[in-house]
């Protein structure tokens, strides 16, 4: 393009957060968290934090306690020991549905969609916590309930557009191929407008093309919506590409924590992975 003739007219969009090197706000902090079932320690004295705006990967061999970690973060399991601080507030007893209203949403390792509902309805359930109209208006439907429904439908349609699933809007999710189900699940999580998004193996069981799509969406979510993401993933290539920082678990302990390349070179991490048959 040639030389500019006029001064810039439109305020240019803010620079991507990824380009800011300085220290950022800690969104979630886990301190000395332990969790056990019966006598089995699933998580053993683990501490790490998640900073606002980053993509944080949690990796480790099978049975390392990764999913348990997510379950602790969103209140599905109560850790026996340790402190969890979210948005600067220390959390005590907590129910999963409250985690959602505080701004934590997640997807699941094995797709956990509502099989009897359409894609649209599935995503709409993600808006449940934000819907206010009471039973009376719901019975009448027309009026406040309808207005609310439409307002949320608009939000959901934006997400549908964002994740490019418009063509399956009215398909029952049970009939969708696996890759798309994963995407619908992501859509449902996004519908909760979370500040922290937990993704449990978002690319498990996908082919290369689907993985690429999903990676793109995760980056888009992080960059365009500014959502902080914590993800568990087995595909090392994906982890290295996507994440800003990586924490490595093994047998419920934390064995490494840091930028991807650093973690990749860590001897203990290599050992842990080699110890697991591949």
């Amino acid at each position: 393009m040639s030389v500019m003739e006029r001064p810039e007219v439109v305020e240019s969009a803010a620079v991507s957060p990824a380009q800011e090197p300085q220290k950022r706000e800690v969104l979630l902090d886990l301190a000395n968290v332990s969790l056990s079932f019966g006598g089995v320690k699933a998580i053993n004295n683990i501490s790490f934090d998640i900073q606002r705006g980053e993509v944080r990967a949690i990796i480790g061999p099978n049975g390392a306690g990764k999913t348990s970690m997510l379950n602790v973060i969103n209140g599905f399991y109560q850790p026996q020991e340790g402190q969890i601080t979210f948005k600067g507030e220390r959390r005590t007893q907590m129910k999963p549905h409250l985690a959602v209203s505080q701004g934590i949403a997640r997807t699941f390792q094995n797709v956990a969609l509502f099989k009897g509902m359409s894609t649209l309805d599935n995503i709409m359930t993600g808006r449940s916590t934000r819907m206010r109209q009471n039973m009376f208006w719901q019975l009448l439907y027309y009026g406040p309930a309808q207005r609310e429904e439409i307002a949320h439908r608009k939000r959901v349609e934006e997400i549908i557009d964002f994740l490019e699933i418009a063509h399956i809007r009215h398909t029952p999710v049970g009939k969708l191929p696996y890759g798309l189900q994963k995407r619908v699940e992501l859509a449902r999580a996004l519908a909760m407008e979370p500040e922290l998004l937990l993704l449990d193996e978002p690319m498990a069981g996908m082919n290369l093309e689907e993985k690429e799509d999903m990676s793109r969406f995760i980056i888009d979510v992080n960059e365009q919506l500014g959502t902080t993401i914590a993800l568990i993933e087995h595909d090392m290539g994906v982890v290295m590409d996507l994440s800003d920082r990586v924490v490595v678990l093994d047998y419920g302990r934390k064995i490494a924590d840091g930028p991807p390349d650093e973690v990749q070179a860590n001897q203990e991490v290599i050992d842990a992975y080699l110890g697991v048959s591949h």
């Binding site: 599905f76 129910k95 997640r106 509502f114 009897g116 509902m117 039973m135 719901q138 019975l139």
Partner: protein, 358 residues
């Protein structure tokens, strides 16, 4: 074939989320309503009102209530009749304690009592799941019937132990008791059933419908997307029991005229459950289809022996009826486990894509 969806495009979410996004459905409903409100009252006989139309309406409503709980929220209940009984007894007590109370008000209020009882018996659903819960609902069934029998205050210490509906009027029009005209009662039932159906359709297609279905399909996931399980389940119990209670009150007030406790025993629960299942779980329409089938079947069976020239006594006919219903249930479950509503959905789908086969 009849369905020509081409050209029916939506320019707003209001129209996209309308009750009948496809025009032909609305037309069809219009025709049905016309038949119900105009044609039947003009031509139906007293027998038709008493033996077919009113029972179909009332059973449909009861099944609808059950369907909210079982079909939408996934909580299997075997105790429907007990809650119907609560509605009936509540309505009876209300109209005797407050004789001036309008019968419609009493009817709609009595649902509140069954809703409360329903919530109380729904509390275990927070901890108990699946078949265990189904059996637990039987507890309410047996306990409530026992209560209707033993708590004489409920039936105003009648020597017979039964409740009898006195003659009541609605702004001068006699609507209950032996002197009420069947067509009046029919209209009453029809209007109330229409209203409640409208409300239930609204409820199930909106936020509550989604809450319930989410709990039904996967309750853990529902909790993790922020749904308060207690609220979702108990609301299902409350709404379901309310509707069931009103159906129970109508059963006594606009149809039977009197009731003994054992009317609300387990066979009625099963009758309603059959209707819901044969009609189709998770469907509002299905309740009506199921009720038509279950109510019409014995009436039709009555005619069969006459048609083929065989004399059969009424007891045998009764036995055959039970047998046929049993066989029908199994047959239906095999042919279309998702009920008549699904069958209609499939037919409708076929009509929409006609002439293509799929």
């Amino acid at each position: 074939m009849f369905y020509r969806v081409s050209g029916q495009f939506k320019t707003s979410y209001e129209s996209d989320m309308a009750l009948f996004p496809i025009r032909q459905d609305a037309v069809l409903l219009g025709v049905i309503l016309l038949a119900m409100y105009v044609v039947f009252p003009l031509f139906a006989s007293e027998f038709t009102f008493k033996a077919l139309l009113v029972p179909v309406m009332i059973y449909s409503l009861a099944a609808m209530g059950l369907n909210i709980l079982t079909g939408f929220a996934g909580q299997l209940s075997l105790g429907t009749a007990g809650f119907m009984g609560v509605g009936a007894y509540a309505c009876y007590k209300l109209t005797t304690i407050f004789p001036e109370m309008n019968v419609v008000v009493a009817l709609l209020l009595s649902g509140c009592f069954s809703a409360m009882v329903g919530v109380a018996f729904g509390l275990p659903s927070l901890r108990i799941k699946g078949f265990y819960l189904a059996i637990a609902t039987l507890a309410s069934q047996f306990f409530l019937v026992w209560l209707f029998e033993k708590w004489a205050w409920l039936y105003n210490y009648n020597a017979s132990g039964a409740i009898e509906v006195r003659t009541m009027d609605f702004f001068g029009l006699v609507v209950t008791g032996p002197t009420a005209a069947p067509v009046t009662q029919y209209y009453f039932v029809l209007v109330i059933v229409s209203l409640i159906t409208f409300c239930m359709i609204n409820l199930t297609r909106g936020r509550y419908g989604r809450l319930w279905k989410a709990v039904r399909d996967m309750d853990i996931a529902a909790e993790l997307v922020g749904i308060n399980l207690m609220r979702a389940k108990l609301s299902a119990f409350a709404v379901s029991s309310y509707v069931v209670g009103v159906a129970g009150a109508m059963l006594v007030f606009f149809w039977k005229g009197a009731a003994e406790p054992n009317l609300f025993d387990i066979p009625l629960s099963f009758q309603v459950l059959f209707i819901a299942i044969i009609g189709g779980l998770g469907s509002i329409l299905g309740n009506f289809l199921g009720a038509i089938l279950i109510v019409a079947l014995p009436v039709l069976l009555n005619f069969v022996p006459g048609l083929i020239g065989v004399e059969v006594n009424s007891a045998t006919l009764e036995h055959v009826n039970v047998m046929v219903v049993g066989a029908l249930i199994v047959g239906f479950l095999i042919a279309e486990p998702h009920g008549l509503a699904r069958l209609w959905a499939l037919i409708r789908e076929k009509l929409i894509i006609w002439p293509f086969p799929h």
